[in-house]
Amino acid sequence: MTGRPDPTVGGRPDPAVSCRGLTIAYGPTAVVSDLDLEVGRGEMLALLGPSGCGKTTILSALAGFLPVASGEIRIGGRVVADARRQLAPERRDVGVVFQGYALWPHLDALDTVAYPYRRRGIGTAEARRRAAAILELLGIAGLAARRPAELSGGEQQRVGLGRALAREASVYLFDEPTAHLDANLRDRLQLEIAEHRRRSGAAAIYATHDTAEALAIADRVALLRAGHLVQEGTPADVYERPVDLWAARLTGLASIVELTLPADVDPGSRSGSPGPTPAGVAGADQAPLLSTGRPIAAGLVRAIVRPDWVRLGGAIPGRVVTVAFRGAHTDYRLATPAGTIDLRAGGPPTAALGEPVGWSLDRVWVPVEAIGGD
């Protein structure tokens, strides 16, 4: 993941999108409140959150479909919406790809993609020529004469993408564009979308509730809970250093392990030896590497463990509770004195259900927010 502008450098050009204190309400209920968000030029930001967290609402306000209750939105440095004025959608430098495709039933693929060119006053013949070039680029030139009813879901969304690209905007908004597609097609199309977006050079905000999708295609990920921004960072940041248990569970499988810490640890530093040991486990000689977002005192601490931070084989005892073979790897769940641990190992299963196994911890993460009695 490259191309991310360094937020600490001053004097850089205006960001592609910036929201300050953004509040969006349906009637008296604020769906998004006091949100600050920035997307650099050429950057792809994923808005990751569960259904109903406000992703679509934020995109609607950015596109100009919804008014802003307070705060402001700037696109390319220009204020496009605040509590008093809203710039109409057609006057914002924004292209949108919709979750439900939003293709017009009475227009074929070619005229759909030509539509944004026509709106800019380009003649029909030239608009269609340019639209044909985009369909060619997307590999669907053969579908030019088809209407939405004659297209599959994936084809429809490619046409939707083509329409957005024809807008030649400096910011694209993707509202869960692959949510209605089946898994195989979803993986392929999301990479296609990311690639075409990257080549266009435009910035983008990509709303999704699919963690793997967000981590795979974004330069930066913003975690959204009930209209609030919980965390922002690179995909590796949010995966390896989630701010709390909720963020950890949103960004992948996360187990909680209870550790005994022999000495105080400062935030940012990494524990050396003597390291933490799983609580209640005698003779666990190998101590995991511990990183933390806050100072922690010696004694008992709860930490987060990703499945790929745990290995089968080691001195800590456990018992296999579930096994799921997934082809390229196998997922295990272990019952251990330190807690229930999810573990991922390459290849087919090597331990059977109910079998006692030894395991070891490579590393753990103690988030900023202490983990409660979960």
Binding site: Y26, L66, A88, G95, F98, G100, A102, W104, R119
Partner: protein, 542 residues
Amino acid sequence: MAESSSLRRVAWLAAAGLAAVIIGWPVARLFGVALERGIGTLIETLAGPQATVAIWNSLWTGGSIAFLAVTGGTAAALLTERSTLPGRRWLRAGLLLPLLVPPFVTAFGWARAFGPRGLTDQLLGLTLPGIYGPLGIVVVLTVAAMPLAYLIVAGALASRVEPDLERAARASGATRFEALRTITLPLLRPALLSALVVVFVYAINAFGVPAVLGTPAGFATITTRLYQDLALSADPAAFVRATTMAASLVVVALVVVGSSDALFVGRGAARTALPAGAGLARSRGVVAVALGAAIALTTVLPLVALVLAALTRATGLQPVPANWTLDNFAAALDGRFLGGLAHSIVLALAAATVTLLLGALAVAAGRRRSRILGTAITLGFAVPGSALAVAVLLAYGGWLRDTLAIILVAYVAKFWALGHRQLAGSVERLPGDQVRASRASGAGALDAFRSVVVPALRPSIIAAWLVVFVFALHELTMSSLLYGPGNATLAVIVLNVQQLGDPTITAAMAVLLVGVVALAAIPLAIAGFGREPTTRPGGGAS
């Protein structure tokens, strides 16, 4: 499934037989009588001066009404369904209000409000010139028919034009107006066509309004001509003319309706209105007030004028409290009125119940087999009431003349489609898996029907019953041709009193009639019309 398919066959045979008796035979008889003197006589009759003028008047007023009502209804639908007007809920209810008022009562109301010696004349010295005559007919029927156009277009906006389609246009660089022109209107085209057809048929079918506003000015339409020829004339030539014109009315209606489904496109769709977004923000209040004022002027003021006329001691007196009295109501509530009320309620109860049962029978016949049946049922609805009344009279007048039964046959022929479509629509929307899940959970066929199907259909059963009840309660066109001595319906009695020329008593009766209809319609309003759409905030994933 052999058992259920033989049940379906029985249902189909029964429904088809009843359709033939109630709709098929009368219409066939009408054409038989119209044609029995040969094509030459038919053409001669139609080319006669009285028929020609009436047909021409019906066609041009009908066309104007269709154009105006659909234009107005579309504009209103776009405003209430595609913007965030304040008080949308009230505006919607106001736009549907004319449905509750029998059109001929609206005509009284307009005459009392804007006519000579009407409310605006008394208060401001202003009258609407030409209220008696074609202008008044066009204006009042446009007001009365606008809710039909509004409902069809608003339904199509909800079901055929998802807000995202318009948003996609805006996000592609289209202005509000360009999005309307290139996306919304093309997608609405079938609904607009359907609305034009429905309103046109409604307008050429209308009898009460031309009777109230046209006849005094000597302006005849097909329906008032038919009434003159049939109800007021003993001349055999007039009877021939009546049957011929009734048959031609059927032909006009069928040609216009074209396909049977044109009448029902876009009905019964759920509202999914979301605020269409930025823009119009500053003028929202102004637009809402303007729309509210239009509703007040065209719908509420005439009703107010009617109430004031009913309360005022004598026509021509100022409508101030000093001149108020309840004597008109006391005079209106005489034996005739109460008898009419009883007839209307009995007829409406019977029509609603029979219609619902016949609708259920047609639905039970199954969808595949019932294409012809559905067309026949829709035919009954599409045939203008005047023509249908003549047809029923020709078919069954011999032994049912002057009974309530013959009126009931006409009501059922006319309203069967309402019950059928409503039920068929919700049966189609009922997912088959729900019934299968019930069977797979151990329910027998009857048990599954009782525990899964009936609860799901209950709202539409109630709505279908109520709609027919309300329509039957203020039906005038057919009743005025079919009633006999001693069994006039309420609407007929009110119209007759008006034609005898007692304005204050007429006003009092009309107010009571509206009150009765409104009372019956309250459950209907609660059941759905004014309901606020459920807007789901944000979170597009589903």
